[in-house]
């Protein structure tokens, strides 16, 4: 009998259906892989299993009994543990306290005193089970991300978990920690614990899982034994279209004129080391790299959001200042990785968002009084040119738009300044395929108009489709450079995963 069975799960947010009847089943001791692009419904369906969200329709059974958790606590009592991407541990508490936070055993019956001896012994046993050689009284703040993950798993085991959901568990782990995690997953499988493994790293999914489900746009588009799956097939199912369709053609050739953006041996200890690069007019340079390789930090250093110790950054031969405002005035624009936190003014109108970086150029000198007519004309022109789908840009808050349209607004607000240099950090994260294509088109148009563009992305296919050159970052340094003729996804990946030449201090 199946450990967990879900039938026809549906869920909508604000009238938008994000899950159209998803079915899944998992046996004890089975590892089920779940893959799909961002926004395909993976997290929503797992949040339903973990009790974070309630489904609008459909049913679930756990061990043959109807299962409808009202909150995460309900789910964990029923034996389902959800290990989130960002870990839910409290750094100001110890390991043992984190493990028993919502159910400390008492030392005396009816008196709410924590039985320290008991939780220490139990924690010790659990930590041994996950092979973590730390004392139960260690504060979590002093553990590494990998060690914290082990603590999360230990916590799941302490709650007698029958099913553990892993959401992108390897993103912040070292390769040694990843091997330990995989060994642990095999061990749990032997204990007949069911697991759901969500990851973008398809090789890991194939290696670990017995069965793979592929989601696209909130629906199940593929379900097969892992033995019958290949990365190619998964990608085809996930994306639903081929490479040629995904990227608009480029016509402009980068010019050989003096560089627009130039970095000369930029270093910041522990972050980036000796970075030199040039970007020319009409050139798109891609930066590939692992999470934590220093690619985002490099962009933030250029834009003045992070400090640098040594090195020079030049735009059209003039040295850049170190505050975002001055960098911007030199003609640099920066689309950040986290749209909600750093890209949009959530409750403000689309027009307010679009105008923000360029607003000073629509004001009378000295007074700061805005020329509303000119500003409105410019903003609506920009909304049209990025093909924004919105009803009323002056009134509609940006929050009310889809992710793709929000990203167009964020891109548009930088285009309002007609930047000479545009830095894009994960420009298509969390947006649907159609909107992606339009974002690519805007980037190409901008390059055609002569901008120098630096794109950072964790999707290698995206970099290959967009860039004229690709630089690969590894441990804060550039480890390889590829020209359009030599683009090869596997080579790029290999360069990004190089072992460090000299051990870091």
């Amino acid at each position: 009998m199946a450990l967990l069975e879900a039938k026809g799960l549906t869920k909508s947010f604000y009238g938008v259906t994000v899950l159209h009847g998803v079915d899944l089943a998992i046996e004890p001791g089975e590892v089920l892989g779940l893959v799909g692009e961002n926004g395909s419904g993976k997290s929503t369906s797992m949040n339903i299993l973990g009790g974070v969200l309630q489904p609008d329709g459909g049913s679930m059974t756990l061990g043959g009994v109807p299962y409808a958790p009202r909150d995460p606590r309900d789910a964990s009592r029923a034996g389902i543990s959800f290990i989130h991407q960002e870990l839910n541990l409290f750094p100001n508490l110890t390991v043992e306290e984190n493990l028993y936070l919502d159910g400390f055993p008492f030392r005396f019956p009816f008196l709410p005193f924590i039985d320290r001896r008991r939780i220490r012994q139990r924690t010790k046993a659990l930590l041994a089970e996950v092979d973590l050689p730390a004392s139960p009284a260690t504060p979590v703040s002093s553990l590494s991300p990998g060690e914290r993950q082990m603590v999360e798993i230990a916590k799941a085991l302490s709650g007698q978990a029958r099913l553990i959901i892993f959401d992108e568990p390897t993103t912040s782990l070292t390769s040694r920690e990843i091997e330990r995690l995989f060994a642990l997953i095999s061990k749990l499988r032997a204990r007949r614990i069911g697991m759901i493994y969500i990851s973008h790293i398809l090789h890991d999914v194939l290696r670990l899982c017995d069965h793979v489900l592929v989601l696209r746009d909130g629906a199940l588009v593929g379900s097969d034994r892992a033995a019958n799956m290949t990365p190619e097939r998964m990608v085809t199912l996930m994306v639903g279209r081929t490479m040629e369709q995904m990227f608009p053609p480029r016509f402009e050739k980068p010019s050989a004129t003096p560089p627009v953006l130039e970095l000369r041996s930029v270093s910041q200890p522990g972050v980036v080391k000796n970075i030199s690069l040039v970007v020319h007019r009409s050139e798109v340079v891609g930066v590939a790299g692992l999470l934590g390789s220093g690619r985002t930090e490099l962009a933030r250093i250029i834009f003045g959001l992070a400090p640098r110790q040594t090195g020079t950054i030049l735009v059209e031969g003039r040295e850049l200042a170190r505050s975002p405002r001055e960098v911007m005035q030199a003609g640099v624009a920066f689309l950040t990785e986290d749209r909600r936190l750093e890209g949009t003014l959530g409750s403000a109108s689309i027009a307010h968002n679009l105008a923000l970086p360029a607003v000073e150029s629509y004001a009378g000198t000295g007074t700061g009084v805005l020329d509303s007519a000119r500003l409105h004309a410019a903003v609506s022109g920009m909304a049209r040119s990025v093909q924004l789908k919105a009803s009323d840009i002056e009134r509609q808050p940006i929050n009310a738009l889809s992710g793709g349209n929000q990203q167009k607004v964020v891109l548009g607000k930088w285009l309002m300044r007609s930047p000479k240099v545009l830095i894009l950090d994960e420009p298509t994260r969390g947006i649907d395929v159609g909107a992606k294509y339009e974002i690519y088109r805007i980037i190409n148009d901008l390059a055609a108009q002569g901008a120098a563009i630096l794109v950072i992305s964790s999707e290698i296919e995206e970099l290959i489709g967009l860039s004229d050159r690709i630089l690969v970052m590894c441990h804060g340094e550039f480890s390889a450079e590829f020209n359009k003729a030599t683009f090869d996804p596997e080579e790029i990946l290999r360069a990004a995963m190089k072992k460090p030449v000299h051990s870091s201090p």
């Binding site: 961002n38 839910n88 390769s175 290698i460």
Partner: protein, 340 residues
């Protein structure tokens, strides 16, 4: 990595700064007046610090959750008025419990607005501060209230040579310490302060924890008010006026963060003693009474400044940890191994 070490050094220095200030204060007053260094004077300081320390222990619970309670001074006054107007003839233990009950009811009122209606704590407690003071002025008819000898005489009550105020403080401190360290509720307070959203996700009853915390603060304020009455003898309309400042400062000087999740009740006692020492010293050296509020304001400013700087540095250190420095082997997210 050198930078990290330096940041840790600054953190330690900021943590120790209030203690350094305490030493400077002691040395300064000792050199200005010979009366300051007498044992009896230190005992006086301790006794006089007790009301603020007791209320500060309650405040520590609130601050640990990341909240604040500005109504404690007003609660001291209101509960004292209720005792003095309606229950003049009760035995003192009953009076003490009564004032604590009044305080916790007021705390519950604060908590309803904070947890159920989601209004920010400082606005709620600022408003209830005025409401409580208004209600107390109404009850007392803006007149002095005199309490029976039974209560005011407690000031001269000694058990085993230790005055009543110190006993009370010791009991409250012990209970609070055990609650924070050794009960699930105590540990959950720290979790809520670190991250209320994560605490909710972890299945903690955040609303209930916050509710209790404000009740505790109110009860401690009531108790602090009671101890204060035994010392001043009568309740004037300016009783405990703006005492909330000293109470908050005591907790923060003791190392409890205004940003939640960090600190403990032990430090609060130190903070209260530091504040009382300064006040006591100013009296002994016959300082101009007009500078008292300035000195108090300066101490609070210092406390808030030190805490804000610590929080800033800790945040920066955390941000560095999120990046995988040594773990560069983490892999490309969402990289299909081979493309069609």
């Amino acid at each position: 990595m050198k930078k990290g070490v330096k940041a840790h050094g600054i953190l330690v220095a900021l943590r120790l700064l209030p203690y350094a200030v305490f030493v400077v204060v002691l040395v300064t007053f000792a050199s200005l007046s010979s009366r300051f260094l007498q044992v009896q004077n230190f005992l006086n300081i301790l006794v006089q610090a007790a009301p603020v320390a007791i209320a500060g222990i309650g405040m520590t619970f609130v601050l640990l959750t990341g909240g604040i309670d500005l109504s404690v001074g007003a609660v001291m006054y209101l509960s004292a008025c209720i005792l003095g107007v309606f229950f003049k003839s009760v035995a003192w233990p009953v009076g003490l419990l009564l004032m604590m009950a009044c305080g916790s009811v007021w705390g519950a009122l604060n908590a309803v607005f904070i947890t159920r209606l989601r209004v920010v704590p400082f606005i709620v407690t600022l408003a209830t501060l005025f409401i409580a003071r208004g209600a107390a002025l109404y009850l007392s008819n803006t007149k002095m209230i005199f309490l029976p000898k039974e209560v005011t005489g407690l000031n001269r009550l000694y058990w085993f040579g230790i005055p009543f105020a110190i006993w009370t403080l010791a009991v409250v401190l012990a209970v609070a310490w055990v609650i924070l360290r050794e009960t699930p509720f105590g540990r959950q307070i720290y979790a809520v302060g670190a991250d209320p959203v994560a605490a909710e996700k972890a299945g903690l009853k955040v609303g209930r924890i916050l509710f209790l915390v404000y009740c505790i603060s109110g009860a401690c304020a009531g108790m602090g008010g009671f101890v204060s009455i035994t010392q001043v003898g009568a309740v004037s309309p300016s009783f405990a006026l703006e005492r909330e400042f000293a109470v908050i400062a005591a907790a923060v000087l003791g190392g409890t963060s205004l940003f939640g999740g960090r600190g403990g009740v032990g430090g609060t006692i130190f903070g209260a003693i530091l504040i009382q020492t300064v006040n006591n010293g100013l009296v002994i050296i016959n300082a101009n009474p007009y500078i008292y509020p300035l000195v108090t304001a300066a101490i609070i400013f210092l406390a808030v400044l030190v805490d804000s700087l610590r929080e800033r540095i800790l945040k920066r250190l955390q941000a560095r940890q999120i990046r995988v420095e040594e773990g560069g082997d983490a892999r490309l997210a969402s990289a299909p191994a081979r493309l069609p």
